[in-house]
């Protein structure tokens, strides 16, 4: 039950900055997702929090205590690694016991806690097997049990679902969320999968190139992205981003007016519209249909504009599906976002 704070933390690996000036707060009991493409610094931030790497500058606090100089074992944290990192020569039970043995807990309490942790992840029958005899999903649960048994202040999770196949991933995702809500332990969760982020996190921190882009609740990030990167990263599909112009407060794609803005500027912009806020209609900007992906409940119509940019339009199942190669016009039905063409920052 703890707060975590990153205060202007930076990390440089031999001349290359992996993380630049990260300042972030994690509230007590919250599951915060660090989201971004590979190389964005999210794993670095997690490892710095764990104490597996030293910060180049800045400080990290857990419950207002400066832990920046502390060893991992003194930070009262538990970590689930991407590859689970189970000790192959020990049984499941011994794996889960290991952290408690290091803390020199009395035998009776140790046994009780281990049994409790094993029961929580439903591994009690497999307690005497070795990791080599378990399936991927089972190993992941052992890693979870080993983390839970410590009752730490903070859970750290490094892409724990990425080694599981798709169906198992969905199920385990829900299990982890339920577990976290039930135990109420502050959790920092790293992933590159925005679906995981949206469904699991209380808040999401989007990162790119070592810099924090935006942090907030999933829907807030979805509806009010701070820049083009966040807008394009969240959602499936991500927000459509097309080159356009702002002419005295009017938003144009090519020569077609698509909306108005409260900002009465004139400059080059990137126009962002979500797939569900577009429809194929008699008026709008021109595009050619590339392919119509029929997903069951919806249809994603992938089009290409005159400037060879991709636009996806979401249609409900019953609407007429255009043919490949057909020329269409697309009009917005909802919010139109404007981002500065060069900086990516949102204007309106």
């Amino acid at each position: 039950m703890s707060q975590v704070r990153f205060a202007a933390v930076s990390k440089i690996f031999g001349g290359t900055p992996a993380l630049t000036d990260l300042s972030l707060d994690v509230a007590d009991g919250e599951l915060l997702v660090l989201l971004g493409p590979s190389g964005c610094g999210k794993t670095t931030a997690l490892r710095l929090l764990a104490g597996l790497e030293e910060v180049s500058s800045g400080a990290i606090y857990i419950d207002d205590v400066d832990v920046t100089a502390l060893e991992p074992k003194d930070r009262d944290i538990a970590m689930v690694f991407q590859s689970y990192a189970l000790y192959p020569h020990m049984t499941v039970r011994k794996n889960v016991e290991f952290p408690l043995k290091n803390a020199k807990l009395p035998a009776a309490e140790l046994a009780a806690r281990v049994n409790e942790a094993l029961a929580t992840v439903s591994l009690t029958e497999l307690a005497d097997r070795k990791p080599g005899q378990l399936s991927g999903g089972q190993r992941q649960r052992v890693a979870l049990a080993r983390a839970i048994v410590r009752r730490p202040r903070v859970f750290l999770m490094d892409e724990p679902l990425s080694n599981l196949d798709a169906t198992l991933r969905q199920q385990t995702r829900a299990d982890i969320v339920a577990l976290q809500r039930r135990l109420g332990v502050t959790t920092v969760y790293v992933t590159h999968d925005q679906v995981e982020a949206m469904t699991m996190g209380h808040r999401i921190a989007v990162m790119k190139g070592g810099v924090l882009q935006q942090v907030g609740k999933p829907l807030d990030l979805y509806n009010e992205p701070a820049n083009a990167f966040v807008a394009g990263f969240l959602g499936s599909p991500g927000m459509n981003l097309v080159a356009g112009e702002l002419r005295q407060g009017q938003i144009f794609i090519g020569d077609d007016l698509v909306g108005t803005s409260s900002v009465s500027d004139t400059r080059d912009v990137t126009v962002g519209i979500r797939a569900e806020s577009l429809e194929i209609s008699p008026t709008g900007f021109a595009a050619t249909v590339l392919v119509a992906e029929e997903l069951g409940a919806d249809v994603h119509v992938v089009c290409e504009t005159a400037t060879h940019e991709r636009v996806v339009v979401r249609q409900p199942q019953h609407a007429t599906v255009p043919q490949s190669g057909q020329s269409v016009t697309i009009a917005p039905t909802g919010k139109v976002y404007v981002f500065d063409r060069h900086s990516g920052e949102r204007i309106s």
């Binding site: 991992p72 290991f98 290091n102 803390a103 080599g132 410590r150």
Partner: protein, 304 residues
């Protein structure tokens, strides 16, 4: 596309008829060498051992069947030789393996300039038996001050029945420690990083981590290193030849199997008995290797 090559993993890639000829041709050179200079001589030992040498050189040996072998097994010379060999190995191997292990663990730290230390730790690998012998002669000699500075007063090892063998085993141990370091470092480097990190997060001190995680996971490599060490010590010849042989002193206390074979061959021209000793040497080597495999079987199945 004419190549009907198989793309099955683990299966051979090239399966055509004439590829088979190429395969045999590629294997042939090594096969010839092994057949002529490894297998043939090995089996020839058994044949030679059936013949006992005549009391005078240049007279033909006569057939005695396995009697020579069985006599040897009971002879005092042979048993002394085996005893010396075993003691030699018992000094060389533990010293080498433990020394190599300590160095490997120390050199595994992420410190600046650790590469220099790694080179130094593996450096004994370059010294030949002859060079090592010559150097240790200087170090261990009563005429130089190296030992005396440490407060050790040894008599001349070439004439000392108690100290001759251990001294030579020490030389072998030093020679072996560099190789042991290389093998064990390779083993350490193949341990997954994430497991080590997990143990750090799980509260293990460096000491706990070493004993409860690193060593158990490293044990197959340690065994392998031990076997290499035993084979190395059984083959140690040059040190003895230079330190004792050239000085003209011949003491049975340093008559390890390999040296006994040499003397039988070179000095007494007793080929038949030398062949018997060679067979004994092989059996001992085989036993040690088999024991290692047995011990390994039990420990390997945890590694996925």
């Amino acid at each position: 596309m004419s190549a009907r090559a198989s793309l099955v993993p683990g299966g051979s890639v090239f399966r055509r008829r004439r590829d088979g000829w190429l395969g045999l041709a590629l294997v042939l050179p090594a096969l010839i060498i092994f057949a002529g200079f490894t297998y043939y001589p090995f089996f020839k030992n058994f044949q030679m051992g059936l013949f006992k040498a005549a009391p005078f050189p240049n007279l033909p040996s006569h057939y005695v069947g396995t009697a020579q072998f069985t006599t040897m097994l009971g002879s005092a010379d042979f048993l002394d030789s085996v005893k010396s060999t075993v003691i030699y190995a018992l000094i060389t191997v533990p010293l080498g393996v433990i020394g190599g292990l300590v160095m490997a663990v120390l050199a595994h730290q992420k410190l600046r300039g650790i590469r220099i230390f790694r080179t130094i730790f593996s450096s004994s690998v370059v010294s030949s038996a002859a060079v090592a012998a010559v150097v240790f002669q200087v170090i261990l000699s009563p005429q130089t001050g190296y030992l005396q500075a440490l407060g050790i007063h040894l008599p001349d090892i070439t004439s000392s029945p108690t100290w001759g063998l251990p001294a030579m085993a020490l030389v072998s141990a030093w020679q072996f420690v560099g190789l042991a370091f290389i093998i064990l470092t390779a083993g350490l480097q193949s341990l997954p990083d994430e497991i080590m990190e997990a143990s750090r997060v799980d509260g293990a001190t460096a000491w706990t981590r070493l004993w409860r995680i690193t060593f158990p996971l490293l044990s197959p490599t340690i065994f392998f290193c031990g076997v290499v060490g035993v084979i190395f010590s059984l083959q140690s010849f040059g040190q003895i030849d230079i330190m004792i042989g050239t000085s003209g002193a011949t003491y049975t206390h340093t008559n390890v199997l390999i040296y006994a074979i040499y003397r039988l061959l070179h000095v007494s021209q007793n080929t038949g008995l030398a062949a018997c000793y060679s067979i004994a040497l092989f059996v001992i080597t085989l036993l040690v290797t088999l024991i290692q495999f047995r011990l390994l079987e039990r420990r390997v199945h945890y590694a996925h």
